[in-house]
Symmetry: C2
Subunit: 454 residues, 2 copies
């Protein structure tokens, strides 16, 4: 008789796992049943701001594979189905059906891919109409509907992280007046302050009203329950639409209630094969888990689509009888805001110090391509290294076209425990349309090496 | 009394060395005298095709530092001075002065940076007017002068390597009819044939008349000694201008005559500090030397500006009393031909096999950015790995905007002896404007890993 795999959450991690397992085991050997509380599967959540901005035409362009397409491959996806309980002893999940009522489904293998839960402070008015997170495609549709139905003129984006700055840009592109409020002194707190400052400048140049160091107190609603303004310790900001970009935390309620181990970072604990230790046949992957940070060696929960896809694939290979391991993360992330490319990997200064490293840093300015070549733009590269040893600990890049993906060089160097000294010798590609003869990353490595040697 | 450093050849390697030495030792401690047979110093030879194409406006844009600028920093550069002999016993060089006559100059330290010599077959007519190599800025000026003075309509480019394909594009951009003739069956023999074929297609789409498998027999000249046609075993190709893109070999005549050691690849032998072994105070760097290939462990002479700059810097740091080593090369190279980006690093299949590796390869097609994002273009990535171990041996990339510099990820992985298995876990940057969620390099690593495991 076939084993049954139940997948909870049918997005990046869950469906990568299901697909890999299916590639290796056919439906006579492994039945796969996936429950999704939303209405879409396997879509690019990272693409939502670009769709709202109008850069991506159709919502469906963001969907890599629909429930129907999964079903054609013998993966039984049920949308609108919320898993409300997991009984590890009975090896069964309880599911709230879309039309009400609950059903129970037994499993042999369970893949927990419950994703991240958006941070939603307990502010008055946060549940008002026109107040939206942007985690799921359903959220994106809700934002889009609010914009249309209200003929919205003014938006307030709360939070200056990736989603916040991307949504600020998207709403400007849709012709709204946009205010970005953030508690910290600069946007993008995944960067060091000196680099984050440049993001703030780019947002201002794009006519986003950037308000840093501002604490939100609540959202004022009108008589019909629609958002009217965001109230803060720096006054009131009118808003027809409010976007919450306050980040996410691992979505572990279900796992926690079932008794699965939750680690210090708040994510479900997994081993290198994405198994939940101590629970045979239970797997977890994606924004709901914690994994090892390769620089600190500590567990972290970093919600990124790349990690979710890789972890899901690893789990699926193992579920399918193969062997694969997830080697940990560096937290590499890139984005583009108002023509400014932004990238980071590893530890920023404060993170490195908090992890016990003594650090030296170097910041250099260079060009994205040969200075004399048409379209040459500036790029700023910062490298953080360990004092004494010169071990690379992290890097950050902001700049024009061609800046961001240079972080991958820093990421692979970091992955391999290189020192900034060693990096100066790296044999990178050069031609005038692509780079100065010394790639900006190498210029930064030279500067960091000089800094290490005092 | 100050030591005297004589530099032979005042371009990338020579002047990088001189500049680094000067940074560390002032003119009272180290006199620096540089002889250059051409008329320019410290320029971007790689930029010449783009200047001829009209993409770079001014010739002087290619010059990073003029002789005057070097002299202001107490580096005595003498252009038009050809070093014709080195006497290692007397520790002196003999120099042919620009107005005739020879002078002798003693040195304490000697930096040999004589660059590469273009390959010039002994064809009838090769010394004709309108027949040009494109190694130096003086060569570039000569091409430019020929184009103007002849009102040239038709060009033949001989050789389908970097310079050949870049010059073919440049001349098309200048409105000429261009024929590219190449002995091999496809252009870019630094790539495997399956990848090189795509370069040929791009050239054809750009209206270059590409003639592969053609052996040149000579260049026919008219009554005034100007090029009229290139004669080949496949007939005659009319040409007002002929460009030679046949590559270079290490320029070691001077070194060889002086008795310096020449290695199996034809370059001057150096140690990791760029010293010539057995010859105290003699240094060499740039296209005239051989260095270790990090994958094969064998000596190679690969003429690339990136290597020359790095080697010159290493020599200069050591000359200045510091400590630096040159760690070897991977042969990473990128270029752009007719909107097709081209990149390679490490060993191609034939090179790997010749070096004794049994190989498996994987070729994948993906997108430069998320498939749904505006401007998404195709990219083809090939990885070559060792059979059994899965050790990465090399990579090649061709594709649209954003393709080429992805080779740097492959280069850093190669530098660190990664296997293609390990590469599948790399934490690279992802956002829709920059990459699919699985970067094309990771897709290739997955395919290569599958190929390794059969």
């Amino acid at each position: 008789m076939a084993e049954r795999l139940i997948v909870v959450g049918a997005d990046a991690a869950g469906m990568s796992a299901a697909s890999q397992a299916r590639r290796r085991r056919d439906h006579r050997d492994l039945e796969i049943l996936a429950f999704e509380r939303g209405t879409h599967t396997s879509y690019s959540a990272c693409g939502i701001p670009y769709w709202i901005a109008g850069l991506v035409e159709e919502r469906d362009d963001l969907i890599a594979r629909t429930p129907e397409q999964h079903r054609e491959r013998n993966i039984d996806v049920r949308i609108g189905h919320t898993v409300v309980g997991v009984d590890l002893d009975r090896r069964a999940v309880t599911v709230r059906e879309p039309r009400g009522g609950e059903t129970t489904h037994e499993f042999d293998q369970l893949m927990v891919a419950t994703g991240g839960e958006p941070v939603r402070p307990d502010w008055p008015g946060i549940d008002g109409r026109g107040v939206h997170g942007v985690q799921t495609l359903d959220d994106g549709e809700a934002v889009s509907a609010s914009l249309r139905s209200r003929d919205a003129k003014r938006a307030v984006v709360i939070g200056g992280g990736y989603i916040g700055v991307e949504m600020a840009e998207a709403l400007i592109r849709q012709g709204l007046e946009v205010t970005l409020v953030e508690r910290a002194e600069q946007p993008m707190n995944t960067l060091d302050p000196d680099m984050g400052e440049r993001v703030g400048e780019a947002l201002k140049a794009f006519e986003v009203d950037v308000r840093m160091g501002v604490t939100v107190e609540g959202i004022e609603l009108d008589g019909e329950g629609w958002a009217r303004a965001v109230t803060t310790d720096a006054g009131e900001f009118p808003a027809d639409v409010v976007v919450l970009g306050l980040g996410t935390q691992p979505g572990v309620t279900l796992a926690e209630e079932a008794g699965l181990p939750i680690g210090p970072s708040g994510g479900i604990v997994t081993d290198r094969r994405m198994r939940v230790p101590g629970h045979d046949g239970i797997w977890a992957a994606g924004d709901c888990v914690e994994v090892v940070h390769r620089v600190t060696g500590r567990p972290v929960a970093i919600p990124l689509g790349t990690h979710a896809n890789k972890q899901g694939r690893v789990a699926g290979i193992n579920l399918g009888g193969g062997y694969a391991t997830f080697p940990g993360v560096l937290g590499t992330a890139v984005t583009k805001v108002c023509d400014l490319e932004i990238a980071r990997t590893g530890l920023r200064e404060a993170e490195a110090e908090e992890a016990g490293f003594a650090v030296v840093s170097a910041v250099i300015e260079s060009h994205t391509v040969a200075g004399y070549y048409p379209g040459a733009d500036t790029v700023t590269v910062k490298l953080v290294a360990e004092r004494g040893t010169g071990r690379l600990l992290g890097g950050q890049i902001v700049g024009g076209n061609g800046a961001a993906k240079r972080i991958d060089v820093v990421a692979v160097a970091l992955w391999n425990h290189m020192t900034v000294d060693e990096m100066t010798g790296l044999d990178l590609g050069y031609a005038p349309p692509f780079s100065p003869v010394w790639d900006p990353v190498l210029v930064a490595a030279r500067a960091a090496s000089d800094a290490v040697h005092g």
